[in-house]
């Protein structure tokens, strides 16, 4: 009797998302958070509202160190419903054994798009006593992914079958930060398919950043968070690293009678500008999904599917 089972294995299926990255198409990704619980219906509902406009959903990994359902499970559930996903992968919660095994698992379930990041420190979240892992940093994790793609684990042991990922990483966009640029160079050097940035508000500033990294030839998806109020803008300026909302935008938000609408309008203007500057956008709607369709239409982004 043979112990062999019939395994469905998808060797290096061309990733739809990777193909789009290589095309001229303006790419739209949207962040989506797994639930703090087991009922995923609200996530399906949110994703359903914007799915026709979005190329892939970026599933967060215990974002801001707040414990939620695993992105591996949530990604799989979205994938089952025909949505393309990008799995976020932080270095915070898993050592190299767990990172590699989850990466293999993700690929086996058809999730070849991965966006990696260091991850906010546990004390920022809702389980502040958690042991921080950071066994690998993001550059080293990219190295581990290269190893897996080459048919070996990070310790050099051969794999029985190898994955092929679409690899993304995150970055801030201050053009005058030599250390951030240095790290970006290292990530690009490790081989990367796209960068996804922190929220951008100053397009001129962002253009300077793009010029500074043009030699890396990596597609960039500009991060966007629609503003809801002047208060939110000031809060982000004060508390969120890498975000800088200019005084002019804050004044616009302040003088508006409908700040939420104004925020969407600003965001739509930014998208129109960004179309000339980078390969796509990464939208972080933060509970704003209902209005996102209107935002896309205002920005001249139409249904893709």
């Amino acid at each position: 009797m043979s112990l062999k089972t019939n395994v469905t294995y998808y060797p290096a299926m061309p990733s739809a998302f990777k193909e789009k990255l290589l095309s001229d198409e303006f790419i739209v990704t949207s962040e989506i958070s797994p639930p703090k619980g087991v009922d995923v219906s609200s996530v399906f509902e949110e994703a359903g509202l914007v799915r026709d406009y979005v190329d892939a959903f970026n599933v967060t990994d215990n974002q801001r160190a707040v414990m939620r359902m695993s992105p591996l499970a949530m990604g799989h559930l979205l994938k089952e419903r025909g949505l393309d996903v990008i799995m976020q992968f932080t270095c915070r919660d898993r050592n190299r054994l767990a990172l590699q095994s989850d990466l293999l698992g993700a690929y086996a379930m058809g999730m070849e798009n991965v966006c990696i990041m260091s991850g906010d420190y546990p004390t920022k979240g809702d389980n502040p006593g958690a042991k921080p892992v950071y066994d690998l940093d993001s550059v080293q994790l990219l190295g581990a992914m290269n190893q897996l793609e080459g048919g070996y684990d990070i310790a050099g042991n051969p794999l029985e079958s190898a994955p092929s990922f679409t690899k993304g990483a995150v970055c801030n966009t201050e053009p005058d930060q030599p250390l951030q640029l240095m790290k970006l160079e290292k990530k690009a050097h490790m081989g990367i398919d796209f960068f996804q940035t922190q929220a951008v508000y100053d397009i001129g500033h962002f253009e300077t950043f793009m010029e500074g990294i043009s030699h890396m030839e990596v597609p960039v998806l500009a991060g966007l968070i629609p503003l809801k109020s002047a208060h939110m803008a000031r809060f982000m300026n004060e508390k969120i690293p890498g975000i800088r909302v200019g005084d002019e935008l804050i004044a616009r938000m302040e003088s508006s009678t409908d700040p939420a609408e104004e925020g969407l309008l600003i965001c739509a203007e930014q998208i129109r500008e960004l179309k000339k500057v980078c390969r796509g956008i990464h939208l972080m709607p933060i509970g704003h999904y209902r209005h996102i369709t209107a935002l896309f239409e205002m920005a001249g982004l139409h249904e893709k599917h």
Binding site: Y121, Y134, L179, E185
Partner: protein, 203 residues
């Protein structure tokens, strides 16, 4: 130097369940320098324990609590230690372990051990070394990211620093900011380009 801090007295009391005769032992090295286990602190601890109704039979400061040759050497600090039912040690975890291994009565810590640091130019410096067993501090201008970056990031900073301050503790400089300044100072910014492989643990 091992950086320790005093435990809240209430916590020490809580852990003393029917302690009998207590001896308090300090340490003459790091704990003395940091004022958490020198003579004045040992005296204060004895006084507080007595005020709390405990029977204290003596107190003393070992030359180095982590470096006591034998039980006889321990008793040279004060023969009363032999009669103690409970010993409270005001030193780092190494001292507590060494003293515990030499006596057959319960030993309680009065301090928490925080990090391997130092004292220089009038300042206590925490988290200088993570004792990883494979020193490469020279590549980072002597500012070890394994010890001084809470995430131990070896290939550059995370995106969490604000105005050069650490995401984890805004009172603390981002380790990578310090690495940059130091490497610039010694004319070795080229070292920033080096890609560091994952650390080998358990080696």
């Amino acid at each position: 130097m091992i950086i320790s801090s005093s435990k809240p007295f209430e916590e020490i009391l809580e852990n003393l369940d029917d302690p009998g005769k207590i001896f308090v032992l300090g340490c003459g090295v790091c704990a003395t320098k940091l004022h958490v286990g020198g003579e004045p602190e040992v005296e204060a601890m004895c006084r507080k324990l007595r005020n709390a109704g405990k029977e204290v039979i003596g107190g003393g400061v070992a030359k180095a609590a982590c470096n006591i040759k034998s039980k006889e050497s321990l008793l040279e600090n004060d023969p009363a230690i032999e009669r103690a039912d409970t010993i409270i040690v005001m030193s780092c975890g190494s001292g507590i372990s060494v003293v515990s291994s030499l006596v057959d009565v319960p030993v309680h810590p009065a301090t928490n051990t925080n990090s391997l640091g130092g004292y220089s130019e009038g300042h206590v410096r925490k988290d200088l070394c993570a004792m990883c067993g494979s020193c490469i501090a020279d590549f980072f201008g002597g500012v070890c990211p394994t010890a001084r970056c809470p995430k131990g990031l070896m290939n550059g900073p995370c995106g969490g620093a604000m105005q050069g301050k650490c995401e984890v503790d805004p009172d603390r400089d981002c380790a990578w900011e310090l690495i940059y300044l130091r490497l610039k100072e010694i004319g070795r910014l080229d070292l920033l380009e080096r890609i560091f492989e994952p650390k080998e643990y358990n080696g």
